[in-house]
Amino acid sequence: MCRVLAYLGEPVDLEALLYRTDCSLLHQVYEPQLMSFLNLAGFGMMAWDERSVAPELPFVYKTSQVPVFDRNLRSLSGKLRPTSLIAHIRGVTHSDREVVAQTNLHPFHWGNAPVALAQNGTLSAFGAMRYDLLPFIRPEVARNIEGTTDTEWVYALVLSQLPAGVANPTLEHYERALVGALERIREARVRRGIADCSGLNLVASDGRCLIATRFTFDYGWYKDDLPSPAQRFDFVSLWFTVGGAYCKVDDEWVMAGGDRDSSLLISSEPLTADASTWLEVPEYSMLTAWTEDGGLRVRTQDLDL
């Protein structure tokens, strides 16, 4: 459930990412290719632009409505060319127990926090373990929690794993914070005897770097909630493509080449039905991208938690 999209690199046509391709993010609201689910619980995005006023702060747009009907979003996306982005469409079970509200929309970013975060996946039995995480969340962070979604708690956990008092965390700080958050969740699951398959693909950005995990706790284990025969037992998907710039070449949107890599797109699923220029982020891994010496650097590491 949910779909996430993230970008880092040259100024990019936001409307193309959200609308123009045959499997664009907004298309995935009603017709995702790699899962059978309607993602109807809202949309959120944070976009950074190095040329904007206060470039370290993201532009934020969120709506708890079904975003394909949102004329403002369509209009805005046609005017924006961000250099970094996290965008997310929220999918929840089709039940009256779910809370569809602004406070549950990703990405999460509080006040002066250095990083924003979105998630694709669900923590099984989160209600049972939620308060076991509290000792690992700093009080000044915990008091920002407003909503009911597991992601907001994961975000609070990630912020609390960052070294206190450091205004500009390094890549390694971010990586350790994400891994630390996953470890705390793993411990809480063990303590509560939770061993159901729970995908947790996280995407974090501060506008200058992008870090994504493709990770599932207890992959392949289903107790009370077996997937239906029509569903798959697949690992939660995450794809990426890297190159010079995301643009239209010969009538198709692709990551075009260049002298060196300078742009990266990460997405729950390829943005085009022809996925031939997209690569899978490996399972149980963390992908980190940053700019350095005018180019883009990417590394992946195994998450053996």
Binding site: F233, F235, T241, V242, A256, T277
Partner: protein, 338 residues
């Protein structure tokens, strides 16, 4: 893709078709009756130099047997780059996986010289399979072995080793499959095609429970059993030095131990439980008997193995593409086709 009329050759004699088919790895070894059945499905094609036979991403609907000519098989990479997978000619087969799964093409094929040959559509081949014709099972069995050979080639291209054998862990005792597992089996991809014959298959197998980290097959070893994951996950890795590249994550309904079992040679990959796992296991003798068998249980087994192997190959090729893309160097050619 259906070839336009001007690229279709006038229908050649049936004897020539059978001779061309018999010379290819997929159809070699079929008896006369089986070969005649397959030949009845084949249509000729003729492609000038420079023309594209199929493009990556297109829906795969035909297998092509090359009788003469030369073609390049290339996979696209991000950033306008390409990975040359192979150069193929007379006697080679392209797109054979499309007979099993109709997903998107994983590579493009372009004629370097004028090329002619035969095509067989997935639709026609499906009719053969659905009719439970012997030729359908025979071709599926051949396809399984071909995919296995290609997997071995991919693993070795990524540095998989067979020279030094690494010992697997001592595994606990397998036990009869609990009756409650039958319902679970029926929901998993590997077992969906067995229908009423699933209890018979289950009675020949056993269940083995392993802890996370258990090595089922060491690189350089031959697997001592066939395994399908029921719960949890088993990863298949190519290992060289300190690095370990995963080429398959076999979650529920997927099998990790084909290499070394289906092709009777040391495995170039290691298999390790990435999560604690419940496994369905078959002895090598039962595996071989089913693969070589002709009854309905054997046919369902051959179909399940071949379809799963194709998924394994697709996953391994994606891994290879990612590794080549990360290297940013001119990709190495491999000796097999896409």
């Amino acid at each position: 893709m259906t070839l336009p009329p001007h690229l279709r050759e006038r229908h050649p004699a049936r004897a020539r078709i059978e001779a061309v088919l018999a010379a290819t790895p997929v159809f070699r070894g079929l008896d006369d009756a089986e070969l005649a059945e397959v030949a009845g499905l084949a249509e000729p094609f003729d492609l000038p130099a420079g023309e594209v036979l199929f493009r990556q991403g297109e829906r795969a609907e035909q297998l092509y047997v090359l009788e003469a000519g030369l073609m390049d098989v290339v996979a696209r990479l991000p950033g306008n780059r390409e990975m040359l997978l192979s150069r193929v000619g007379a006697g080679d087969v392209l797109g054979e996986l499309s007979l099993v799964v109709g997903g998107p093409r994983t590579a493009s094929a372009r004629a370097i010289e004028g090329t002619r040959g035969l095509l067989i559509s997935q639709e026609a081949f499906s009719r053969l399979r659905m009719g439970l014709r012997p030729a359908g099972a025979a071709v599926m069995r051949r396809l399984g072995r071909l995919v296995c050979a290609r997997l071995r080639s991919r693993a070795e291209a990524l540095g998989g080793r067979t020279a030094e054998a690494a010992e697997p862990d001592a595994l606990g005792d397998a036990r009869p499959l609990p009756p409650g597992d039958l319902d679970h089996l029926a929901r998993l991809d590997f077992f969906r095609g067995f229908g009423r014959r699933l209890p018979e298959l289950a009675s020949r197998g056993a269940r083995l429970d392993v802890e996370r980290g258990t090595v089922l097959v060491g690189a350089g070893q031959r697997p001592d059993r066939f395994v399908v994951t029921l719960r949890g996950a088993v990863e298949t890795t190519v290992e060289h030095g300190e690095t370990r590249q995963r080429i398959r994550l076999a979650g529920p309904g997927r099998a990790p131990t084909y290499l070394g079992l289906l092709d009777d040679a040391p495995s170039p990959v290691a298999c390790r439980a990435r999560e604690a796992a419940h496994l369905f296991t078959l002895s090598p003798a039962d595996f071989t008997e089913l693969i070589d068998g002709h009854d309905q249980l054997a046919r369902a087994f051959i179909d399940a193995v071949t379809e799963d192997l194709v998924g394994y190959l697709v996953q391994a090729e994606r891994r290879q593409a990612r590794i080549v893309a990360a290297q940013k160097a001119p990709p190495a050619r491999t000796s097999e086709s896409a």
